[in-house]
């Protein structure tokens, strides 16, 4: 039986892992290569790396970090952050990424997903969206959660999957960093009927939050979190054991 996945997310800036609270106030906490190895040894099913540097220099450091991770960690690696062109796909895939996650880049260029899926295959293309409640609906936000794009989240995700995105990461801006649980309502509303895997992100604060996620959001294939793992508030082996004992299929 296919297992539900637990995915730590590593935001990397200037070669270090950071985690912001509601996308603001980042603080450096660890060496990404070391942290990736630690997570892989401790049951992480996959790793997501977000490059949150903007400079060319930062980008070069990031690809070097990625390469070093891919040389030592043998679980799936997804890379996102600053992906705007096919050249960006190429750059991170050559460094060992298995999947590439696009967010603002797909909003800026509505053909990016199709072009990438045609060249690298759908299994390689992940659409990541930052979603926020707005005027009684769910909207997609761009630029790291700062701009309201005016796009309806459900329509957007449907469009992206139709264009060839093979996986969806949904990050709730409303619950991100709050540690009060995943955004169950948003997840069910936006991706309840999708035919591709869905990774839920934003709001994990406790083991129970993950249990609720997988029980109440049948479309969720994976739970993604950062700070609760980075600050060792939740140990992944303990989390997976608890999920397993709650009847949720886990790789133990």
């Amino acid at each position: 039986m296919l297992k539900k996945r637990i995915i730590p997310c590593l935001d990397v800036r200037d070669g270090k892992v950071t985690k912001g609270i509601k996308f603001k106030g980042n603080a450096d906490i660890a060496d990404p290569v070391e942290l990736a190895g630690f997570y892989s040894d401790n049951g992480a099913d996959e790793l997501v790396f977000y490059d949150i540097t903007a400079s060319a220099e930062g980008r070069a450091i990031f690809t070097d970090v990625l390469k070093r991770v891919a040389e030592t960690v043998f679980i799936p690696l997804t890379v996102g952050g600053g992906i705007r062109t096919l050249d960006d796909f190429d750059r991170v895939l050559k460094c060992g990424a298995d999947k590439v996650s696009v967010n603002s880049g797909a909003i800026a260029d509505k053909t990016l997903i199709r072009k990438a899926a045609e060249r690298y295959g759908s299994q390689c293309v992940v659409i990541s969206a930052d979603v926020k409640r707005q005027d009684g609906g769910f909207r997609v936000y761009g630029r790291g959660g700062r701009d309201d794009t005016g796009i309806d989240a459900k329509e957007w995700i449907k469009y992206c999957v139709g264009e060839g995105a093979g996986e969806v990461v949904l990050n709730s801006i409303d619950t991100d960093g709050v540690k009060g649980g995943f955004d169950i309502e948003m997840l069910n509303e936006v991706c309840g009927s999708l035919s591709v895997p869905v990774i839920a992100s934003g709001g994990a604060g406790s083991v129970d939050d993950f249990i609720r996620l997988f029980r109440e959001v049948p479309c969720a294939d994976a739970g993604l979190a950062a700070s609760v793992f980075h600050y060792k508030e939740i140990a992944i082996p303990d989390l997976k054991r608890a999920l397993f004992e709650s009847g949720i299929p886990m790789r133990i």
């Binding site: 039986m1 043998f74 679980i75 060992g96 390689c124």
Partner: protein, 202 residues
């Protein structure tokens, strides 16, 4: 010396790194001539079956692989590389494969129940028969899959994974072996399978 077939599809970075991590010396092989110099062959692959076979044919590797297989050299196909070992595939038309493993490759949508997502992506448990490739495995071990097609009508299945239906996860006929999952992305379990392949006879 192990040779990884490099015919211009997909990303071989992880495969190379994972082999290096278990101490296996690997070289990239992009021509028929190079194939004779290695004593073990890994055939990777992502993308579409027809394109991949066409690329193998264009480089002369298609016939060379068949020749080496007939000579008894151990071969491991991974993902699309495993599918290419079969006689034919029904992905976007009917395409002939290497024919080293009996059977054909068909869409998983034909066998999995409604409501199951396609592709089959993620970690799934291997239900395996005793085989040298699995000598380090224990019951319940999981590996990482990403695929929409699967091998069927095949007498050489040595492992399956349950995705609403048992999907072929690995095949073997003497020196010709293949796995649908990605051992290079399956953590310690995957590395143990690569190690076991490096230790098979030949």
């Amino acid at each position: 010396m192990l040779g990884i077939i490099d015919y211009g599809v997909g990303n071989l970075f992880s495969l190379k790194s994972s082999l290096r991590s278990i101490g296996a010396e690997a070289v990239m092989i992009d021509s028929a001539e190079g194939l004779g110099r290695v004593d073990r062959i890994v055939l990777p692959g992502v993308g579409a079956f027809g394109d991949a076979v066409e690329k193998l044919r264009r480089t002369g590797l298609f016939d060379a692989i068949k020749r080496e297989a007939a000579s008894g050299k151990p071969i491991l196909g991974i993902c699309l590389g495993m599918q290419m070992l079969f006689e034919r595939s029904l992905e976007f038309g009917v395409h002939g494969g290497l024919g080293l493993i009996k059977g054909e490759v068909r869409p998983i949508s034909e066998v999995i129940p409604a409501g199951y997502k396609i592709p089959h992506i993620g970690w799934n448990e291997l239900d395996f028969k005793p085989h040298p490739l699995f000598k380090y495995l224990k019951r319940g071990d999981c590996v990482y899959f990403v695929h929409s097609y699967y091998g069927t009508s095949c007498p050489s299945v040595i492992a399956t994974a349950d995705y609403g239906a048992p999907l072929t996860a690995a095949v073997a006929d003497k020196n010709v072996m293949g796995c649908q999952f990605h051992p290079e992305k399956s953590g310690p379990v995957g590395l143990s399978i690569l190690r076991a392949f490096c230790e098979t006879g030949g």
